[in-house]
Amino acid sequence: MEVVQIQRRLVDYTKSLFMEGFLDGQFLQLQQLQDESNPDFVVEVVSLFFDDSEKLLNELTIALDQPNVDFKKVDGHVHQLKGSSSSIGAQRVKNVCIAFRNFCEVQNIEGCLTCLQQVKQEYYLVKNKLETLFRLEQQIVASGGSIPMIEMGF
């Protein structure tokens, strides 16, 4: 496939992620902070997000599985996940975290368990999407092309 075609695919794919709400403007901010002196900035930060999130999701699963759930502890983990997802622009993950924290506050275990399921779903979805995006970028670079900057209307 020609470089131009992959570039086109990347632009369309990225735009769809924004349209579908997986990513928000903060992801664009990350891309703007990447340059020749820091060419892997986005991948590095997103990788940190992946590591951090998986750890947090594990801890949340364990914490919500206890006979006496420590909601403060659960809230602490969700707060962290909300923060990191917000920092990289993973909008849908962040939004589930907001609902999750509300359930923690009123100590609603069922609500929390539902949110845990949802947040895991959203996390794996966005992880998949971002990995696809990075693969497209790698293909472009490997073919000697440059990664197009996405211009968004907002």
Binding site: D52, S86, S87, I88
Partner: protein
Amino acid sequence: MGMPAQFHVLAVDDSLIDRKLIERLLKTSSYQVTAVDSGSKALEFLGLNDDNGDEDRDSSADADEQVGVNLIITDYCMPGMTGYDLLRRIKQSSSFKDIPVVIMSSENIPSRINRCLEDGAQDFFLKPVQLSDVNKLRPHLIKTHSNINKRKGMEDDIHSPVPDRTRPRYNELEVV
């Protein structure tokens, strides 16, 4: 004392992702950055004791010049010492109270924001912090640097005008 070649910012955040982000934001704006993951590490870096508010071991008026920190930007929600606690400690220190402190938080809680501003925070940024927020820092830094030098009785140079003329003058200054 003239303008430093580069301003040095001490960034404090327990989140690794946010530390990386703020570091990139600041470096993109040509600041020198030291990033630490807790309030106590921040105090340690400044040379202040972490315990009950006793004065720093090096209590000379030039302590802040030696450490060379021009601004502190800290997250609010951190385990142990919060950003607010750190703010209070800095403002209680005779050597460091003039260093501007900016608080960051992911939560938009007006009472929290007001309390920080009332207790001496220069500004309050909502996370995720943007480049436009970081761009707001420069006038604070230039003005404060000038005021610190004047307070130390150093000679006035042409870069430190009287306070009421500060803003129009500083907009014209070229800072590398």
